[in-house]
Each structure stands twice: as C-alpha cells, then as structure tokens.
Symmetry: D2
Subunit: 355 residues, 4 copies
Amino acid sequence: MEAWLKKTAGPGAERDTVAKPTIEDTDVLVEVKAASICGTDVHIFEWDDWAAGRIKPPLIIGHEMSGEIIKVGSRVKHLQKGDMVSAETHIVDQTCLQCLTGREHVCRNMTILGVDRAGVFAEYVAIPAHNAWKNDPDLDPRVAAIQEPLGNAVHTLLPRGNVEDIAGRNVAVIGMGPIGLMAVAAAKELGAAKVFATAGGRNKTRMQLAEKMGADHVFSAREEGRDAIVSAIRNATDGNGVDVAVEMSGHPDGLVTCFESLTAGGRVGLLGVFPKPFEVDINRLMIFKAATIYGISGRLMYRTWYQVRGLLSRPQFQKKISQVITHTLPIKDIEKGFDLILTKKAAKVALTPDW
Amino acid sequence: MEAWLKKTAGPGAERDTVAKPTIEDTDVLVEVKAASICGTDVHIFEWDDWAAGRIKPPLIIGHEMSGEIIKVGSRVKHLQKGDMVSAETHIVDQTCLQCLTGREHVCRNMTILGVDRAGVFAEYVAIPAHNAWKNDPDLDPRVAAIQEPLGNAVHTLLPRGNVEDIAGRNVAVIGMGPIGLMAVAAAKELGAAKVFATAGGRNKTRMQLAEKMGADHVFSAREEGRDAIVSAIRNATDGNGVDVAVEMSGHPDGLVTCFESLTAGGRVGLLGVFPKPFEVDINRLMIFKAATIYGISGRLMYRTWYQVRGLLSRPQFQKKISQVITHTLPIKDIEKGFDLILTKKAAKVALTPDW
Amino acid sequence: MEAWLKKTAGPGAERDTVAKPTIEDTDVLVEVKAASICGTDVHIFEWDDWAAGRIKPPLIIGHEMSGEIIKVGSRVKHLQKGDMVSAETHIVDQTCLQCLTGREHVCRNMTILGVDRAGVFAEYVAIPAHNAWKNDPDLDPRVAAIQEPLGNAVHTLLPRGNVEDIAGRNVAVIGMGPIGLMAVAAAKELGAAKVFATAGGRNKTRMQLAEKMGADHVFSAREEGRDAIVSAIRNATDGNGVDVAVEMSGHPDGLVTCFESLTAGGRVGLLGVFPKPFEVDINRLMIFKAATIYGISGRLMYRTWYQVRGLLSRPQFQKKISQVITHTLPIKDIEKGFDLILTKKAAKVALTPDW
Amino acid sequence: MEAWLKKTAGPGAERDTVAKPTIEDTDVLVEVKAASICGTDVHIFEWDDWAAGRIKPPLIIGHEMSGEIIKVGSRVKHLQKGDMVSAETHIVDQTCLQCLTGREHVCRNMTILGVDRAGVFAEYVAIPAHNAWKNDPDLDPRVAAIQEPLGNAVHTLLPRGNVEDIAGRNVAVIGMGPIGLMAVAAAKELGAAKVFATAGGRNKTRMQLAEKMGADHVFSAREEGRDAIVSAIRNATDGNGVDVAVEMSGHPDGLVTCFESLTAGGRVGLLGVFPKPFEVDINRLMIFKAATIYGISGRLMYRTWYQVRGLLSRPQFQKKISQVITHTLPIKDIEKGFDLILTKKAAKVALTPDW
C-alpha cells in the first residue's frame, strides 16, 4: 500500500510503497477515508528535539483518521466489516492503575499511533478494536477524523467528564489554533455566557474564525497586549474575571493571561505545550487565587468521545466544527499541507485518500 | 397600596387596599414591575390540603416577581435605588448548618414569600437585600420574574452547581408544565444531544411549546402510554436509555418513566411534587440501576442564579424562554390568570402592574 | 474436582465431583483458598422467587473467593502462576456504554460468578484475568475473600469513587448484616465524626459487633422503634440529622429511618434489597429534603478495589474487618454455614478448602 | 486592655495598653482564652516585604484565637454570652460573586484579622458574628485556637469540601511545618493508605513529630535529596506514585517533589507560599501528567470547619493535633515564642492570656 513515512532521522517525510498491515485477532483493519494534520505531526515533520528523542524511523506518520473497517479480528464482537470508525490514538494496556481507575488516557504503558507505532497517513491501518470508535455512517469523514482533537477541546472544558460544567459561565480561550477554535465553539454549545478568545494575531484569519465559532470578544495578543486584554475581560465580567480559562497557545504569556483573567476560585485547563520551562509566579497565579488547574493530556476514554458524539449530533455544531477545516487536500500533496500550517495560512488541514 | 390577599381560610383571593410595607435596615423596598403565577399559587388559590395546613390568612400572595428598588435599608451597600431586581423567594437564616455549607436553599429556618410572609401580588414588596437579585436593566420584567422557576429548571438539570453536566448527553424531561418546558430549553442550551419530552397530552399546546423549546421528540403520555414512550426513547438511544431524566409532572407514572428511560448509572432529578405517597419498586428503579437521584427543592443561592443570568445573556435562549409566557394580563385580572392555568390553556401567566 | 452445586430447581445444594474447569487464553485458573457465604447464596440455597427466575441448574454456586493462580491464559501478561487473587464477581463486556464510561459495574451484558456461570464453592474456578484482583500474599485468605462485600460497603459510602467524602461527617448505617457492619468500620476509618448503627435486634450479637466496629451509638430497631431512633440521632447531631445515611437492612422501615435521620441536602446510599415494592412518600423523603440518593450495585471496577486495598493495608482496620467473620468452617460443612446465617447466629461465614 | 501591636513600620512588636474594642450590632466581643502564632505573624514580626506592603501600623497583631463571648450585638441571634468560640479570620462581604457561590474564602473584598484590622494578641477582640465559630465548651482552648490552620490542612486535603476523598489512597505531604504536620495526621484520620512526609531536615524534631502524626515514611529533604525521596515513594507504591500530594514547604524543590511523586491523573494541593517566582516545567509537571492542581487559600466557610469539628470529636485525633503545640507560653512572653519559631525549635506555639 501507499504511505507517508519518516524513513530516517531528520526533517521531512517520504512517500513509499509498504506492506499492507496484518491484524491481531483483537484488532480491526481500517481503510483510511480521511486523515488530518495535527501539530504533533508538524513537530515530527520538522524533526524538533522532542521528535528526535521519541520517533524511531522508519515509521508511518499521522494519527487523526476516519475510515471503514475492512477486516475484523476473530475475537472482536462489537464491530463489523463496513463500520465507519475513527481512531482513539492512545493505545493502552487496560491493566495498570490508571486504566483500572477511569484514567486510561494516561495509561502507564501507552503507545500512540504515528508516534510509537505505524500511523494513519497510509491507505490502511491496523488498530486495536478497543481504539476504534464507531461513527454515524453519515458523518463527513473529515469531521470524523478531527473528533480526536475536538475531544481534546471538550475534555479541556470538561476535565473530569461529569464533575464540571460550563453552563452560563464566562469562559476565556487563549490561543486560536484548531483546538482553541473548537474550544470556542464547544464552550458556546455548552451554554457558556460570554466567550473571550485571544489569537496570536499574525494574521486576521484566526480571529475571523474565532468569530465564526461564536466568540463574543476576540483579541489579538500581539496587537493589544496582555494587560489590555485582561483589563477588557475583567470589565466585561463586572470586574470578576472569567469562571473558566483554557490555555491553548503554548506561550508563557498565554498562561499568565489565563490566570489574570480568572475569577478567584475559578478553574484553568492547560492543554498548550510550552517550548521550555519558564518562570512562574505560583503564589499569585495559582495559590492566592484558589484556582483549580487541570493538566490536560488526551481525552477521557470514552466519556469524552460520547460527549463529542452527542455534540456532533447537533447540526449547527457539526457545521461550525467543519469550518475549522480550512483546507482539504489529496494526501499525495501532504507536504503542501504542512507548509500551509507552518506559514499560518491554514487552521486544520484535512487529507483525502487520493494517492 | 393595592394587593391580592388570601383574607380568610378557603378558596379564592380578594383584592384590597393595605398599608405599604416598611423595611428593616437590611431590606429593600421594591415596586413590582411584573409578577407571574406559580403552581404553588394555584394550590393556595384553590385552598388544597397543603395550603390549608400552611397558610395563615390574611396574607398577600404571590412570589415570582421583578421590580425596581425604590428604597434601600441603611445597612445595604451593594444595591441602590433604581436597581432592577428579581426575588429569590426563600428567606434564610444564614446561620444554620445548611446555610453555612452551601445549602441555603434548604435552610433549617426558611420562610417563603407569599407563603409564610407577605408576597408580591401587590404594588410594593419588602424583601431582605440578600434576596434581591440584580438584573440587567434591559431585561424584560416578565422574563426577569420567571427567573425563579427557570432557576428550578436549571438546578434540576445541574443539581450540584458544578458537579454535573449535560454536555452531549441524552436527556428526558417528563412533564411539560412551565418548568418542564424551560428544562427542555435549558437542556438544549447546555449542549444536550437528544432531548425527549413527555406532556400529559390533554391538549396539543404543551406539545407544540415543547417543540419550540427544542425537544427532539415529544410524546403524549396520555395517548402513547408509558411502555411505548420508554421503548421509543430506548430505540432512539442505541438501547442505552437517556443519561439524565428529570421528573416534572408530579405523576407516579412520570417517576417510573424517568427510571425506565434511564441508562444504568444515569441520574434523575425529582422536582414534581406527587399528590400522595405511592408504591415504588426501589430495587428495580433505583438500586439495580445504580441510579443517582437528586431531590430538588428551590435553587442554589446563588450559583444557579449566576447560571441563569449567563444563559439569559444568550439572545436565542432569552427569546425561547419568553415563549413559555403564553399569556400576559393586568394584575387586576389575576383571577382570569388562575382560570387559564386551571383549564390548562396557559403555560406561564405573567402579570403587569395595572391595578 | 469437588464442588457444591445447585443440581435441580429447588431448595438446597448438592456436593458432587465435576470436571476441573478449562480456561480461555484471557482467563486464569485459580485454586480456591477461602470462600465465604453471601446473602445472595442464601437466596439461591433457599430457592426464593428471584433464584427460581434467574438460576439455570446445574450450576456451581458461590462467588466470594480468594485463591492462588495455578494456570495463566496465554494472552495474560500482568498476572502469573502463584499470585494470590480475589474475584471481582461481575464479568463485563468492556465494550458497552457503561464499560466505556467508568461504569463497568453496571455493564449492559453482565454475568455473575455463581449466578450466571460456574461459581467458587469448588476446588478450582476459571475467571477472566480482568476479574482477578491481585492481593498482598500475606493477606489472610478469608479476609481476601470478603473484599468483595467490603467493596460494597466502601462503594456505598463513597459512591462515585472520588466525588464524595465521609470526613468529619455524621453517618447512620441502617442494618447490621455483614455489609452494614463493614460499613460502620469503614465509615470510622474514613474519618466520620459520629456513626449511628441500627440492628434488627433479634439478638445482641450484631449490636455487640457494631460496637466492635466502632459505632458510637447502636440502636435496636425492634426494641426502640423508628421514631425513638430518629429522635436520638437528631438529638445527638444538634438537631441537624446525619450528613450521610446508608440503607443496608432491606426493610421499608430502614428506608424511612435513613431519610428521617438525614439532614436537608444530605446523601443516602441504598444497598439493601427490599422484599417487594412498597408505598414511599417521595415528596417528604427525597424532594423536600433535597436529598442526593445513590442506588448501589456492585463496586467500582476498580476504583473501589484500590480503596479497599489501601484501607486493608491499615492494620487496625484489617483486624476489625476480620471480626465480621464470626465462623470459619470446612467447605464440606457448608450446609451448617447456611444454617448459621438463616438462624441469625453468624455474621459472615468463611469456608476453608477442606473437602 | 493589654495588647501586642505593630506600632510603627519595622521589625518587632510592642506591648501597650489600648482601648477595649466596641462592637457593631452584628458583632460579638470575645475575651481571648488562647491564641497561637502563625507563620504570617512571623512575617509581620520580622517586617518582610509582604508585611511592609500590606500592614498599616498601628495594628494589634495575631489572628489564631479562641475565647469566650462576653457581649453579643443586638442583631445576633444564634450566639450568646458565655459561648466558647474560635475565629474564622477571613472577614467577607457576603455579597460578591465569590460569597454568593460557595467561595467566601476568596471574597473579593476580604479583610483579615491581625492583618487588615485589629487582631487577637490582646485581651479582647471584636469579630463579626459570622466569623465566630462555636466550640464544644470542653475543647482545650489552645486546640480550639489552632482549628484555623488545621482547617487549612483539611481543606488542602479535601479542596472542594465534598468533591474529593483521601480514602485508601497514598498521600505525600511535603513540608513539616505545623500545617504539614496536621495534614499528615488528617490524612491518616481520613483513611489514607500510606502517608509519606518530607521535612526540611535541619533538626530531627519535625521528623519525630511527623512520625507521631502517623506518617508511614518520613524523609529529610536536606539529607536524602529529591531524587532519592521520589524514588523511595515510587518504590513504595508499586511504581505508581502517590494519588495525592500536598505542598506545604514553600520551597521550589518541594513543588517538584510533589509532581514527581504523583501518579498520572493524581491531584496536588498547593498551600506553601514561595519566596519568589521560579522556573517551572509546566509541561512535564502538570500537563503530561494530567494532574489536577488546587491552589489553596484559607478554608471553606464553613464546610471545612464542620469537618474539623467532626474530626476533633474523635479523641485520638484531638490528642494527636494537640502534640503539634510544642510550646505554650504566657502571652506576655510572645517574643520568646517568635524566637522559638524562627530558630526552628517549635512547631506551633500557643499563648495563654497571662499578661
């Protein structure tokens, strides 16, 4: 079959013909119908320090995907040939403390598609049946593919599945990458009062998308500066600040904006990954504010997926989310997709199985 | 001033001229701009057993209200003349176990406006400043008045303030009185996937309103019967049943519908009051289903109010909720309002201060 | 091997020699080192209506067990020969809504050891590796066997795993069967302030055991009557009532005692199974009290087991719990064990593998 | 009356005779029966940067206190002359967002006894009735005085009142100041499995006290170093790390120890205040670990106080906590008390009203 691989340590990706995967009897074999490019794929493509330390070439890359099951392992009873599925990309052991206490998403022995084992930028991929999420057959395969990052957005807003809500609360979303954009849409869909969005501001595309997602106020971090943004948020919330702030920019300044915009006793979700450690005023930001802070990694398996399914069953939400996909390319042109992301021209890039 | 009173034990209400209330230094005096009729008022009007046991005539009746502050007690610092406010109708002691642990709404020494002390079907009413909820001055006074039952609806859906959510979940609302209708609207606004509504079915008005509120499926309890409704709900949820069911009909059959429609491990909110004790299969409905059940009384003071404020700041929600007010009458015609409710012609009746 | 079976529909059990079980490659084969008798076993032994409707003879009975793994299925990686294990008795599909959202204990397709498939009153038993809970090798096999009902007690006290606490709160435990006794011990171990215990009162043994478990006040339901008990509990809690009440008697009167003893806004766990439906005043008990009610079935897989392990690592708690085992018999005398329970002479009866 | 004051900006405190306080009609006047010295008092005594920026001399210092009510404001109904009370030291407005949503402890307009208004190192103190916590009259006044920091310890362990537990979990307490010591005792009292304690290690007193509090493992941060401690904690928890870690040292190294000792998906409470901002690896410590982090300020008003009352009703716990008071001095010798703390000879110093 055709696939995009990291063949050797270093930047870039190569297309090649490789053997079609075989499956274990607890796996399913999926024909990829749509894939999409994640920020992690960009790091692997560019071969940054993290990628150099983690990836063992040769490896088929990519992890966001939807497709059709074409073969089912003999022990798999709840799925069948022809089912349309998306991949939960975290493969877990189901036996460790985390897996046995509702925290499979941080399994002690996790492997990740396209990072630790063969990924989805290929014609076919084999995944454990436990990782195949069955979709409504009518769901657009591209939207089905981005349910995985949409799950990140929803999980960041509702970090414990059912021990938080957004209802009628004011929310700040810091960083308008694809997940930030989806978090704006999700917060509004979940009944948020006002949603404040900040974009890096190098161009206007992300700010316009944030408005389409339903943000009530959109700020440019670059042009307006942190103090003015915090001040505007406080003014728009009776001086209280927001009830919930989520960090999706990966900038130290974004972290501070989150906490400075937050009302005392509010909560923060941290999803954006920072380039390196930096000086933090833990007293002022976290302790004196009596903040609750959730470090976010992955999605709840599968509470978040059920919530995502429920939200996508709402037509206006599905339509909004599809707008985060600003570009759709044949997968043979994947390098153009990486370029669109690196030059900040695209939000989410979807790939069709045209080789 | 003019007021509607229960002057003697027995059915009905009388209009009379009474002294304008005086205020304590921790009170505010409010000029009523809109009031609305609650089911409790109907019980008092009709003088049922509960009313006969609780109400001590003479008493000004009514508790759902919004108005303008015209006088502020000397110790009240956070409110001023001219503020538009609604009444939280539960007057609490602020010193008991419940008040000191986030459960003021079930204070050990609670008194209720229009039940235990002078109510709001009058030109003016005195209330403790702690019970005056400041509104956006642009909010329609009639919608402002029904925030109190709207708070019941929201609290039933989110019983612990922030320890539950509705996001992407399937929800059944049993009973399409005003609070049931508002619960349908609120569930959709909070991101529910499918919302199932059942109305008693004596006429079609409530079913049509349920559709306007956004219900995905509306059932007539009378015409379709419980088994068919439960079956339809299960079929529409992959056989799982709903994640959340709320009982707002006050019928024993409604209680059973809630639990039979519920997925194992789901949760139920009980708001509707039943006419008398009845036989319940606690094993099958509650225990074997591992259900979580919330008895609902009042609203959280003031978590729910903040949530209601946030939700009403969303224009489409405010518009939906205003449709629950099917009739607006001058308060001098209040008896006509009771009649509209008793004959099931009205959902919520609002009253303007036209004496 | 030797085993106790229900060979035909009707009361009693028969000892017989049957084939040693074979295992699937995801199973483990366990040599039983200790078993214990549950109330459910008594129902099966007596052949009540529930048993007649559910059990399909011939069937090896029993489900509470600990033992040593003597054979490991080829796909099982986290367990090995020689490991000492207890059985989680609920066998789940790991693919349904419940299993995928942290509620495996109410799986849609559950089967139960000794009820729906071969049980543990035998020399050997085959169980899925997912159901084998690895014990500290030094743990008394009899205490290891009763971790399953101990888990019921802990789960009733902490129904959502980590969304409740008992710390410094007043607790009522209604019903002093083995699980009620263990609930008293667990509540005290978890930092409860006062623990009130009610026993049926036919003899003094249970009341004395309740005291040994650490109950601060022990009542006899038969001798003192419900009103006096509720009154005593209220007096001992500044008139507030308890914060948490758990129903473990299976008597309608026990249910009422729970709610009447409860403070407004408190919570109730329902574990005891009632003989049949009965009249309940839902308004007064649940709604007006704004109670939170948890129907309890099984234990959280495996949050509760981890908590039980942690608690049993505390020497004084392990010692207390072992006192609930009032009788230890060779399994060949199991009929004597049933008799001790039916005549209320025993609390928990443990069985050693002496055939 | 006699009192200790900060009379001018700068180190130290002066004793003086000042006017006996008068009370508002919502206050009570309390005769101090015991006081105790908090770390905050030491900062004020030494006049560090924080103190210089916050304190406006002249001011009576001190805030941890218990005493007898000798006068009751005319509007106070739930307290009376002769009641023994402790002070909740946070005086709140009861009208802001925080106060109206169960977060009074982070009120927008908070003032603190002995910091922003007259404190308790005096013969008498006037406090709002809302801040007077009624004690069991038999409670040792010195233990009654330290309920306030004990509340900090309990609130750090149970940050949301009833949305967390400690039951059967492994816990690390970093820092063995008085609150750290009390946190060890509280964690064991709440059913923790293993409790790991780290002390700074300058002398052995704190380590011995940690053992008396019930710690299962006590480490010296100075002698053993962070890596060895983390390693030892992981080895003692099957490689998982602890479920809960609380930072009570105020050292950057303590923060890292908390997160490195933590199991993925675990939770951290941050109470210790750090001397200044420092470099933090947010990715590794918080995000990739999917940690839940609670910034802790004060105690829940009054959920935590009720829990503290319940715990102190357990004789063995009250005895343990009293051992944290290593020194009791007449208040006239308060300067000796400060010296004992500054030289690390004392844990908690209690003061008797001997002038």
